[in-house]
Amino acid sequence: MQNRNLSIPLLPRMKQLLRPRISPAEDVDAKPVTIITSRFASESYWLDVWRHRELILFLAWRDLVVRYKQTVVGIAWTILKPLTTLVVYTFIFGRVAGLPSHGIPYVLLVLSGLMPWQLFSTVFSMASESLITNSHLVSKVYFPRIIIPVSSVAISVVDNLVAFVLMAVLMLWYGMMPGWQVLLLPFVMLLAVLAALGIGLIIAVLNAQFRDFRQLIPFAMQLGIFVSPVAYATSVLPEKWRILYALNPVVGIIDSFRWCILGEGDLIYPPSIIFTLVFAAVTMVAGIKIFRRHEADIADVM
């Protein structure tokens, strides 16, 4: 029952925990008392995360700054990388394979698949790797460990936002305007981040103990790009396979993302979106639970 406070709304809980400490009527000298036992204290966990909120930002900022230091082209890499992939996929799937695109320029179809895919896969891989890449912190300083995978998300999100520049340029070029659905885009991106972070948390814990996942994840991501509708529309698949296909959580994410940008209603397949929502909720809850259960041992097993 370590995680029962998960179900309690966070803010009132925090206020309740803060109250005795900021009350001036009590002992002015009152110092916070920390109790350490064999389990990480669950009572003050989220309060502790709150206290370290600046660290989340600092770690995210570090990742961003370090990433492009000493690169000649700098932030332009964020555009160049997806651009290259975009050109190759458009050529192979659009021209060579000649797959249908519902009248949408194929290059836009690919980009609107590539962006959510990149978001999901980088959030997932970064979160999975985060404990290992920050092992020097884990073994030397205390802070709620969940800060590490959470802060690793920032870089993927920023990269994705930059890629919208590319998207905007291409849409202008083809004279396309997004409809009202574009307003739902932040929610789709949030969904992608949560789903990826959820499993990322689980893999991060496993990764700390079993380095096999370091080999496994890039490989899985390579396969994933083809079993997800990145370079083709979901409607390419035969109807009878679609329900099975919907079990890939990324399908719902990519479909919704495309719908928000390109507004093609027939690209949407409701079961896959429902499954993705359920998947994100379940992995997030399970991810936090599993992460917290193993959090205390992480420094010992690394």
Binding site: R62, L137, V138, F143, D212, M302
Partner: protein, 446 residues
């Protein structure tokens, strides 16, 4: 006085079921699922290497700490001492919450900052300024706090104009100075330090030590792990002596460090430590010699004024240190016998030589050096008896390394100059110096 840290029945168990520390392989996990029991019994020779293989010894356990309990009062400075593997680092890791105890309970009152290393989280590509902020945040400072202390940190580190240069271009000294500077301006109630003072050049180390003292003056509780008994003695009031994960002693720093040093010597030496007499040849005594065929060492002893040979000497009695030697032939140059006194930590206390040269004519001689009462404080001492002729090159006839080892003992009440102070009086010497006490004229109250 209220407590700062209170621990009860603290224990930490590690299971050693894998080789290195590079992380487990999934194969081990899968393997243990597929094969729940060891598949084949293996015949192990009685004196073969211990089994470390994970599959053969699935549940080897090691208690890095066991039944550790102590209370530290607010404002106390406590050194943690012990051999490698005694559990010092594990204790620090638990107290700083990097890892959790397997059993037991700790209560900590106040904000804790732990410095298990300097520059945690420093990134080589970031500038000095960026790293100050990052490191500060990792150590638990708020951005506002760091901004407020920024100038002091930069000043203290002395990196000056390089503050906007990536730290990878720093010299290692600059890097460490900057790293320590951030930690030096932390503002915790309880400070946990793991031997980070051993960084930088001598001048910077002095600065660090001064800053640490300053920090502790402000009523902070300090826990300090070190292998250097002199820095523990300097910094701390009490010491927690750990051995094999258990508390051996938790008392005044003087007593605890002495106890620790004695135990170390007893472990490393097979024979008894004390040696009140020796005669050459002795396989346990190493004799250094630069000249041969002129003077040889025969032996020596430590005696009381009554001629009783003992290695336990009362502090209030004179100590007679004797050296016997043979001059093999008539020599044309003077001889200077000398005794080198060392304290338990190996620091030289003094060298003593007679006022005149000893005879150069062939024959056997015995010289005695009389150490006055209280000249040596209570504690253990070594003597190297030696013979030299400083007019010659090279000068040393012989020097018998740690040939005599004795202990100066103090019974309660023998030193009237304690004036009622009962705890140890630190120092290697307690000389009876003359004092003058005079009443200032015109100070009488009328």
């Amino acid at each position: 006085m209220s407590y700062a840290i209170r621990t009860e029945g603290l224990g930490k168990r590690y299971s050693i079921n894998r080789g290195g520390d590079t992380g487990r392989s999934l194969r081990d996990l899968l393997g243990s699922l597929v094969r729940p029991k060891a598949s084949q019994p293996k015949i192990i020779e009685p004196d073969s290497e211990p089994v470390i293989d994970a599959r053969e010894a699935p549940s080897r356990e090691l208690w890095a700490l066991k039944d550790v309990g102590f209370d530290i009062a607010e404002g106390e400075r406590v050194g943690i001492i012990g051999a490698n593997g005694a559990g010092k680092s594990t204790l620090l890791k638990i107290l700083s919450r990097v890892t959790t105890p397997t059993e037991g309970r700790i209560e900590i009152r106040g904000k804790v900052a732990s410095l298990l290393e300097v520059g945690t989280g420093f990134h080589p590509d970031l500038t000095g300024k960026e790293n100050i902020f990052l490191n500060g945040a990792i150590l638990g400072m708020s951005a506002r706090e760091i901004r407020r202390k920024f100038d002091q940190i930069v000043d203290f580190s002395g990196v000056g104009n390089f503050i906007d240069t990536p730290v990878k271009h720093y010299s290692s000294g600059m890097y460490v100075r900057l790293a320590f500077a951030v930690s030096a301006w932390l503002d915790p109630d309880i400070l946990i330090v793991d031997e980070v003072l051993a960084v930088g050049d001598a001048a910077f180390q002095k600065k660090c030590a001064a800053r640490m003292k300053e920090l502790t003056k402000e009523g902070r509780t300090v826990l300090f792990v070190s292998h250097s008994m002199s820095s523990v003695n300097q910094m701390c009031q009490k010491a927690l002596y750990l051995e094999n994960g258990r508390v051996v002693a938790f008392k005044s720093v003087e007593e605890a460090t002495v106890e620790y040093q004695r135990d170390v010597i007893e472990v490393t030496e097979s024979q008894p430590w004390h040696r009140s007499a020796f005669s050459v040849p002795d396989p346990n005594i190493e004799i250094y010699s630069e000249r041969s065929g002129e003077v040889i060492c025969l032996g020596g002893s430590i005696e009381t004024e009554d001629g009783v040979c003992t290695a336990h000497l009362p502090i209030e009695r004179p100590i007679h240190v004797k050296l016997r030697y043979r001059v093999l032939k008539d020599l044309s140059f003077p001889l200077a016998p000398n005794f080198h006194f060392y304290d338990e930590g190996g620091a030289r206390v003094f060298i003593s030589m007679p006022p005149e040269s000893s005879p150069s004519a062939a024959g056997e001689y015995c010289v005695t050096c009389i150490v006055s009462p209280f000249e040596l404080n209570n504690g253990r001492f070594y003597v190297n008896p030696a013979m030299s002729s400083f007019s010659q090159q090279p000068p040393v006839h012989f020097s018998a390394y740690e040939a005599l080892r004795f202990e100066v003992m103090e019974e309660p009440g023998v030193d009237a100059r304690r004036h009622g102070w009962e705890r140890p009086l630190p120092g290697v010497s307690r000389p009876r110096l003359p004092w003058l006490i005079e009443r200032l004229p015109g100070s009488g109250l009328s």
